[in-house]
Amino acid sequence: MSAPFDMPGGTYVVVTRHPRAGREIAAFGGARLFEGKEVLDIGTGHGRLAFDVAPLARHVLGVDPSDEGIRAARERCRAEGLTNVDFVLGDARELRVGRSRFDLAIFSWSL
C-alpha cells in the first residue's frame, strides 16, 4: 500500500495485489542492477515499480497509455517530493523516449 496522496477527487492510497516493495528488485538481481542507472518503466500504471526503483536509480521514466494512472503517479511524485522520477503518456510499441538512452527497461506485468 502506498503512502496517502491527494488528488482533486480526494486522498488516495494505491492498493495492489503485487509482491511487497523491494522483492521484485531483489529477484531481478538486487539493488546493484539499478543503482545510479537511467531506468525506463514501460507500462508503469500508477508507478508502483518506478517508486520502488527511484531511491536506487539516477532517474526513472514511467510510461503508460492510461491518463488516470499517469495523473495518479505524478500526484504521488509531487506529494513525496521526488525529483528523479517522471511520468509520460505513451504506447509501449511506439516509445518516443530517445535512442540508446536508458541502462535498463522494465516491463512489469505489462508485456
Partner: protein, 130 residues
C-alpha cells in the same frame, strides 16, 4: 508485443538490460486456507492467450539476436484476502483470473471467514541488450 520489445531495444544502450516480469501462467495461484492448499485460481482464456503470445515474443527477439537471456527466475509471493467474499469480489474485478473450480469452492467454504491466501508465481527474464 514483439514491437514493444523492439522499441525497448532501441531505447536501451548496448549492454543494458530489459526485464520482462509477469505472473507465471504455468504456475496458477494456489489458494491456501487453514494452513493447506485448497485449490487453484484459473486464468481467463484471453489472459492465457496473451501470456503465450508474450512468451513467443520474448523467444522471437532472442532468436533475432536483439537480446541474450542473462537471467531467468520465478518469485513466489503471497496476497491475502480477508475472507471468501473479498476473494470473490477480487475475481469479479480481475482481468486476469476468471474463477476457481466448484471443488475449490467446496474446499474453501469451511474457511469462508478467512483469511485466505493466494500463493502466486511471478516469472521474469533479464535480457541483455546486444
Amino acid at each position: 508485443m514483439v514491437d514493444a520489445l523492439r522499441a525497448a531495444h532501441r531505447a536501451v544502450k548496448r549492454g543494458g538490460f530489459v526485464i520482462d516480469a509477469r505472473p507465471d501462467a504455468a504456475r496458477p495461484p494456489r489458494l491456501v486456507a487453514g494452513g493447506r492448499v485448497r485449490g487453484r485460481l484459473e486464468q481467463t482464456a484471453e489472459t492465457n492467450a496473451d501470456d503465450a503470445a508474450a512468451d513467443r515474443a520474448v523467444e522471437r527477439v532472442l532468436a533475432e539476436g536483439l537480446f541474450r537471456r542473462a537471467r531467468a527466475g520465478c518469485l513466489w509471493f503471497r496476497t491475502t484476502y480477508r475472507d471468501l467474499a473479498e476473494l470473490d469480489a477480487y475475481l469479479v474485478e480481475s482481468a486476469r483470473f476468471s474463477r476457481y473450480p466448484p471443488a475449490t469452492r467446496r474446499a474453501l467454504l469451511p474457511f469462508r471467514k478467512g483469511p485466505i491466501h493466494a500463493r502466486r508465481a511471478l516469472k521474469f527474464d533479464v535480457l541483455e541488450r546486444l
